[in-house]
Amino acid sequence: MAKDTVLMGLFNKADHTANTVEALEKMGIADDDVAILSGIPYPAEILGRPLVWERIPVIALSGAVIGFLIGIFLVAGTPQLYPVHVGGQGLLPIPPLAVITYELTMLGIIVSTFLGVLWESFFPSYGPKRYDRLVTEGHIGILLRCTPEQVSLVKEVLKENGGHHIHTPERRPL
């Protein structure tokens, strides 16, 4: 059956939110159909949510490798393109290689981590979204999808666990 009904409820406390998440899970609402919105970061364990595999460290590592290779090219590669021998010195001194590759490796991590956040969070996304501004006032929002048959039961669960402002949120510009 199509899960085409979206509901949202707000909670004042993390305990109430965690109880609600547990109750929703028991009544058969899948983890993927529930999203928590909050003004401060709550670890997944506190709210009883599944741990998410994070790809940003891998993206950062990839950025480091790219930065490192660019650094090698700049210090070791560019002198080979137009060799200028000065005072009998080698074209590839190791200490400058260490400095430049270090800086560019760091730059690679920095830029890729930032881009990783944008990529993984689908930022920027300025379209209309389901949201409630009370989330930034300290409330915790539970946004969920369910079947039309489950609506009344879900509303009851939300209310029983201290939920308020229970409604079907419209997509609106943020």
């Binding site: 981590t113 944008l118 969070s121 300025y126």
Partner: protein
Amino acid sequence: MSKESRSAPRPAEPDQALALEMRPGILSDQLLLDPRPVGDMNRYIMEAMQRTGKGFWILVAILASLVLIGYGGAWGYQVRWGMGVAGIRRPVFWGLYIANFVFWIGISHSGTFISAVLRVFKAEFRRPITRGSEMMTTFSLIVAGLFPLIHLGRTWRFYWMIPYFNQRQLWPNFHSPLMWDMMAIFTYLTGSTLYLYLPLIPDMAMARNITTGWRKRVYGTLALGWRGSESEWHHLKTAIKIFAFVIMPVMFSVHTIVSWDFGMTLVEGWHSTIFGPYFVTGAIFSGVSAVITVLLIVRKTMKLDYFLRPEHFDALGKLILVFSFAWTYFWFAEFITEWYGGEPVISALIHMQARGPVAVLWYTMLFFNIVVPWSTLWNRRIRRSTTAMLLITIGINIGMYLERYIIVATFLTKGRMPFNWGIYNPSIVELLISIGALSLFALLYVVASRLIPLVPVWEVQEGQLSHSLRPIGRALVPSVVDLE
């Protein structure tokens, strides 16, 4: 302990009324134990940002005029007539511009140290002060980055430093410390700007939600569509953690490489192996002091007493005392080694500092960097006094500026060939540009303080959630749980 008290049931969750009863005053003293409704805290910050009276605009006008005089007037004059209008001439080719460059790079260490290092070590007092110090890092790097361009003389040739090949396939020389400098500063500026921006995204969303008009549009754009979902927080927290670990070694590298601009030369007094740690220590010393100065001014003018409390200046005061010890250690290690060697040119330089024309600057530096912090900052009452801390930290930065000036400008006056000795006096052009630089930093900060939430509200709220008072014996003791 009596049997009764041992067997007495222990209260599970003391409420605030009980806390006040047992240790009156503790709640109002510590920000993280004094939570207010989240909405009130948001509005508190936003109202402070939108308060722009007549005094604010007069200050902006004065600073903008000084920036215009410094950069538009004096720098423009130098570009028109050449480097001859500056005081630098044989044998002193590095003068006030490079001293300013080193000083402002040093100031930029404030944000990274306070935000990244204290975040990694989970020092909770950092929470309300990270944003203000990160802003200092970004703005001081912008100011610092202009000085090499000014010092170039032919500023329009700056693009020769950009790593790409010319028409003969010749690339810039990456073996030069000056090139390392550019790479390090670019990395640090990019890193610190993104490190400022990332934790700002949730606060931008908060600002978007409670403002209207052009502010709402600007904050909405900068918030990137943030809603505060679990995955958004998860990605953000991971990225902040990575940034905190990465930006620290970058911070150390930047000032170390700046010190190598000096250390890699064979100039007497500059060719030193400990210049790296000496410069880095001095940078953190002056940077943290500058953070205190700025936050004290911000606290007063923007009425942020709720967020910025004596406890924060107390903690930062201890930090600068430690860094004063460290700076003194490096300075003395460098000084005594040079002095003991008895090399003639070095002896002449030391004589110039101790008894010659530089003596006033040298003793002032030692007074502000050693005597003042050592004699005052051991005292808790002084560390918690806003007036005293303002004066002490301004003094430290005067001392650190003089240190930069002495190293850069006076060491070059006496080279290995005595017939080539000379003196250096900064010209009016150099002085005006230096004043313009200070004004540019202040202007950027003043304007940003009305556009960017100066306190990371969500970080404070997160800290308040993790702090509570726990009864141990007859006292309520602040306790913290790790939410990360």
